[in-house]
């Protein structure tokens, strides 16, 4: 700048006043200016040189918005490739909170245009309060074309509304196989805390029940995304690129649509459950539970009224009773008793005179009839309680428990469906653990007929009884073919759903024959004779389980809800069966009522096999009509040589 000293700066003007500002002060101002600029440059350095990378990333995050391309979920087919669950295109309206300065002012218009009450919008926003602001909130799912047009027409006034194309689940109507298939819903907060669901974010759709839940990782696919360049109002200025979505894997279920339809039809108007399984493999052929629910209602946002309807139903429509109902198995348990009695070499020689009951430890235990002389061969068809009271007393609780446990009681079967129940098998150890009391021998008596503390699920009974009929080979029930699932995922599913799984128990061929023949007699001369299927080797065991004690029954004063539960576990053919059907009819009153339902399912299955393969193997009825000609006799059906134990693999050319 100029020279520092100007002599004239201190000159006095004509007025005699000081006419100059001192140079020192001006220099001070110069230094101040330089200092200020230096500070500003430091600030710029900090941002543009030191922080450049960070701010560049923030600028990119500002202008690039990832628009998800949602992967369609895998479809579900039955074992023959018939479509069970499909997807349909649907549009969801999202709210972008970042795009709006005064949301309150826009709410009346949004509420009107999308037909949502303002309070509901408030509630939705409140639910996402903790989520980051940039995250879109799903405002309304499955919007109508009119609502889409409304959003498109108000792009400028309501920039906060955004639509997203999705694929939505389309389930069978009327709750068909609803418990097996399950449903999808928004991921819950508890699930988000679970490391298994780590890759989900709030608002994601996830399987919440049934196959949808177990196989979610396979079904869900991988969402893609499109990177679009937007301005601060969310207006699209261009796009950068996209990652395509990988659709979820289609899954083939072990369900046979025809068998499933028979099961659903059989249960119509009743409360209960039917499960059909292929005992050779453990493949579930049908699974139905009543009352049922409409999973389509869960796929879009659940209405309050429907949810209340489900919650207030005393029969628990969401419960998959085939795997979750733990009830006294009643007389179906006698098959387990028979295995224990025969394998322990007690039952073969046991003869009981049934006079309508017997007294043990000073207490009279009733039988429903006077069966007269009973041995193991007619104890099963007639379901004689007196015989099994006596057998139970002879074996003792821990021997019974040992056999029951080896047949899968008090353990989950390990079926690939969530929330399976394990049932209860009492024993001295069990009682000590749960009630801190010793076991009394008197308690064993009613366990012998599947009452008392013993409970089981339909799937457990199906597995156990068909396992016995298969010569002691028990399978892990499953609803998806294992070869549909990558090995490591299959392993993970087995670990997630532990259970008794695959097992083989010792069963001599004599004992095997004795039990299976007796079970065949059940549907001819025995308790389930009314359910007899002409031309089909149909075996099984009924069960009529009291839901309350005689005293409580007297107090309740009758009524439908006090009626006993009707059980039936049936199979065809009697040895190495191709199908087993377990039926639970709650308050169905009498086991043979359930046997008729099982017969419908087995009939449907057999007819189908016959039509398709012209395979009449099952139809080779070892029993001639002979026992029916004398239904009143108590003779034991003889064992024809045609039903000698066969290799466990059925041969289609057996005829």
């Amino acid at each position: 700048m100029e020279a520092a000293h100007h002599p004239e700066l201190h000159d006095l003007g004509p007025t005699g006043k000081v006419e100059k500002v001192t140079a020192g002060k001006l220099h001070a101002v110069q230094y101040l200016v330089a200092l200020i600029l230096a500070v500003l440059i430091t600030g710029l350095w900090r941002l543009e040189v030191v922080g450049a990378d960070n701010f560049r990333a923030l600028a990119e995050a500002n202008r690039i918005r990832k628009v998800p391309i949602l992967a369609p979920r895998g479809r579900l087919f039955d074992r023959e490739g018939r479509l069970l669950v499909d997807n349909y295109p649907s549009v969801t309206c999202y709210l972008l909170r970042e795009q709006v300065k005064d949301l309150e002012a826009d709410l009346p218009l949004i509420s009107k245009g999308l037909d949502i009450p303002i309070e509901q919008i408030h509630a939705t926003i409140r639910r996402y309060q903790l989520a980051p602001k940039y995250e879109p909130i799903p405002l309304k799912q499955d919007i109508t074309p009119d609502e889409q047009a409304f959003i498109a027409a108000h792009r400028d006034e309501l920039p906060e509304l955004e639509t997203l194309d999705e694929q939505r689940r389309l389930y069978p109507r009327d709750g068909f196989a609803a418990h097996l298939i399950g449903y999808v819903g928004e991921v819950s907060e508890q699930m988000l805390d679970d490391p298994r669901y780590a890759f989900y974010s709030p608002g994601d759709v996830v399987g919440r029940s049934g196959v949808e839940q177990t196989y979610d990782a396979l079904l869900r696919g991988t969402d893609g995304s499109r990177d679009i360049i937007v301005n601060s109002h969310g207006k699209e200025l261009g796009h950068l690129g996209q990652t395509l979505a990988i659709p979820g894997k289609d899954l083939k279920l072990t369900i046979d649509l025809d068998v499933q339809m028979a099961a659903e039809k059989a249960l119509e108007g009743k409360i209960g459950a039917i499960v059909a399984m292929d005992p050779h493999t453990g493949e579930i052929l049908a699974m139905a539970s009543r009352p049922t629910f409409d999973p389509n209602q869960f796929a879009v946002r659940l209405t309050k009224s429907y949810w209340n309807e489900i919650l207030n139903n005393p029969d628990h429509p969401l419960l998959n009773k085939t795997i979750q109902a733990q009830l006294a198995p009643g007389s179906t348990f006698k098959i387990i008793m028979s295995v224990a009695g025969l394998q322990e070499n007690v039952a073969q020689t046991m003869h009981v005179q049934c006079n309508g009951g017997a007294t043990f430890y000073g207490h009279f235990y009733a039988c429903d009839k006077h069966h007269g002389a009973v041995d193991i061969n007619n104890a099963i068809p007639y379901s004689c309680d007196t015989f099994y009271y006596t057998l139970a007393n002879r074996l003792g609780i821990d021997t019974i428990a040992k056999y029951a446990t080896s047949l899968g009681f008090s353990q989950k079967t390990g079926i690939d469906l969530p929330d399976e129940a394990s049932g209860t098998m009492p024993s001295t150890v069990w009682k000590l653990k749960t009630q801190h009391a010793p076991w009394y021998a008197g308690e064993t008596i009613s366990v012998g007929i599947g009452q008392g503390a013993v409970t089981a699920t339909p799937i457990q009974l199906a597995r156990a009884l068909s396992g016995v009929a298969s010569g002691g080979v028990l399978r892990r029930p499953h609803v998806v073919f294992p070869d549909e699932v990558p090995p490591e995922q299959l392993q993970a599913i087995h670990e997630t759903f532990p259970g008794s799984g695959e097992a083989t128990i010792p069963l001599t061929s004599e004992n095997w024959e004795t039990i299976t023949d007796a079970m065949a007699a059940v549907t001819t001369t025995g308790t389930a004779a009314p359910a007899h299927l002409e031309g089909i080797d149909f075996a099984g065991k009924t069960g009529t389980a009291q839901v309350m004690s005689h005293d409580a029954l007297a107090r309740a004063g009758g009524g439908h809800k006090t009626d006993p539960n009707a059980w039936f576990v049936g199979m065809a053919p009697r040895r190495n069966p191709d199908i087993v059907v377990a039926v639970l009819w709650e308050h169905g009153n009498w086991g043979n009522n359930s046997a008729k339902l099982a017969a419908q399912v087995i009939d449907a299955y057999v007819n189908k096999q016959r039509k398709r393969d012209n395979n009449l193997r099952i139809a080779i009825t070892p029993e001639p009509a002979e026992p029916q000609t004398a239904p009143s006799t108590q003779s034991i059906p003889s064992t024809p040589s045609a039903t000698k134990p066969q290799p466990s693999t059925p041969t289609p050319s057996a005829e």
């Binding site: 006419e19 002060k25 440059i41 543009e48 990119e60």
Partner: protein
């Protein structure tokens, strides 16, 4: 016999720097409004500059002593115009700052009041030259500035009101304020300021929010902190070389608030980087040094006072505006002289320069 002033003594170098910045301003306004409804503001800015340059030459012909002679009338009119704004002004963005004239012309009196205050302060301290300042003298100087400040604050326009302060400070500093007096004043202001901040009643909610946002910009990323945050992102993402003219994503994507006025420096930094920013600050430095040199060579005390008043206002605006853009000052709404879009701002700058030119042209007149 006094020498006649001539354009040979016009400060062509200063004008050159100023015009260079004006060109940068027009280009950046063009870029910042490219995709907005404000497209074409660059042409309007060229119009303002043309009028400004014309007025600069016009005012440079008037002897600044004439301006000093009428300063007290001008001061009176200024106060009246500020009252008029409050009474009949047009409300824009929550502030009543503009008077609407027929023909679509909006005028912001608070801008040209700055110029009047510079001349009035120069006149006031000229009258006190050579004697020690008494508390009464200091009080009068405060009153002169605080009255228009209060009226502008009422609009409310904190930013412009604050630009009157450097005129007072500069006047007091050059007018011979003693260190002891300065200390007492600072202490009093500090105590007063603390009281105001504690009570929290004297700031408008948006002003309080801006201060809070300045202290913690991330506290409310879409509210008051939004402007600061987006400005920091714009500047920072520019890096050393910038993203290129018309290529700033923050500027073009409308993330940066009002990128053609208050945040124009952020837009410039984003597109031209650290290097460009240094260039602009260097131009400011050269202009300010040139002005101070003219103050040094002015033929009399009021001439120096007027130029230094202009310097004070420009330095203050640069410090506050650029300081805001780089995140070391709160958002106050003060435009950046010579870069921000706006007729009133352009006219003030060029009228001040016209007076400066006049002072320079008359440095040998006595």
């Amino acid at each position: 016999m006094p020498r006649l002033s001539s354009y040979r003594d016009f400060d062509w170098v200063l004008l050159g720097f100023v015009l260079l910045l004006s060109v940068i301003s027009v280009l950046e306004i063009k870029s910042a409004t490219l995709h907005t409804k404000f497209h074409g503001f660059d042409h309007k800015q060229i119009g303002f500059l043309a009028v400004g340059i014309f007025l600069m030459f016009l005012i440079s012909l008037i002897d600044y002593h004439r301006l000093i002679d009428i300063a007290h009338y001008a001061y009176g009119i200024s106060i009246l115009s500020l009252i008029a704004v409050l009474a009949v002004g047009t409300k824009v963005l929550g502030g009543r700052r503009w008077i609407k004239f027929p023909g679509g012309i909006h005028f912001q009196p608070s801008e040209w009041v700055k110029l009047v205050l510079i001349v009035a302060i120069a006149r006031y301290f000229w009258g006190l030259a050579g004697k020690d300042l008494t508390w009464a003298d200091i009080g009068k100087a405060f009153a002169m500035i605080v009255l228009p400040m209060a009226l502008v604050l009422k609009q409310p326009d904190l930013g412009t009101a604050l630009t009157y302060l450097p005129i007072l400070i500069c006047g007091l500093f050059l007018g011979g304020l003693r260190f002891r007096q300065a200390g007492i004043i600072l202490l009093a202001i500090a105590i007063l300021g603390l009281g105001v901040y504690k009570s929290g009643k004297h700031l408008k909610p948006y002003q309080q929010a801006r201060i809070d946002a300045f202290i913690n910009p991330d506290s409310d990323p879409r509210g008051s902190g939004y402007q600061i945050r987006q400005s920091l992102i714009a500047v920072g993402s520019g890096g050393i070389w910038g993203k290129g003219a018309n290529m700033g994503t923050q500027t073009q994507g409308d993330f940066l608030p009002i990128p053609y006025t208050d945040f124009i420096f952020a837009a410039f930094c984003e597109e031209h980087g650290f290097v460009g920013a240094i260039g602009v600050l260097l131009l400011y430095f050269l202009i300010l040094m040139r002005l101070i040199q003219n103050a040094q060579t002015a033929s009399d005390l009021p001439g120096s006072f007027i130029i230094m008043g202009v310097v004070a206002v420009i330095v203050f605006q640069i410090a506050v505006n650029v300081g805001m853009v780089v995140g070391i000052m709160p958002v106050t709404g003060i435009p950046l002289p010579l870069l921000s879009y706006g007729g009133s701002s352009v006219l003030f700058t060029f009228l001040s320069l016209g007076i400066v030119m006049n002072i320079r042209m008359r440095r040998f007149v006595n």
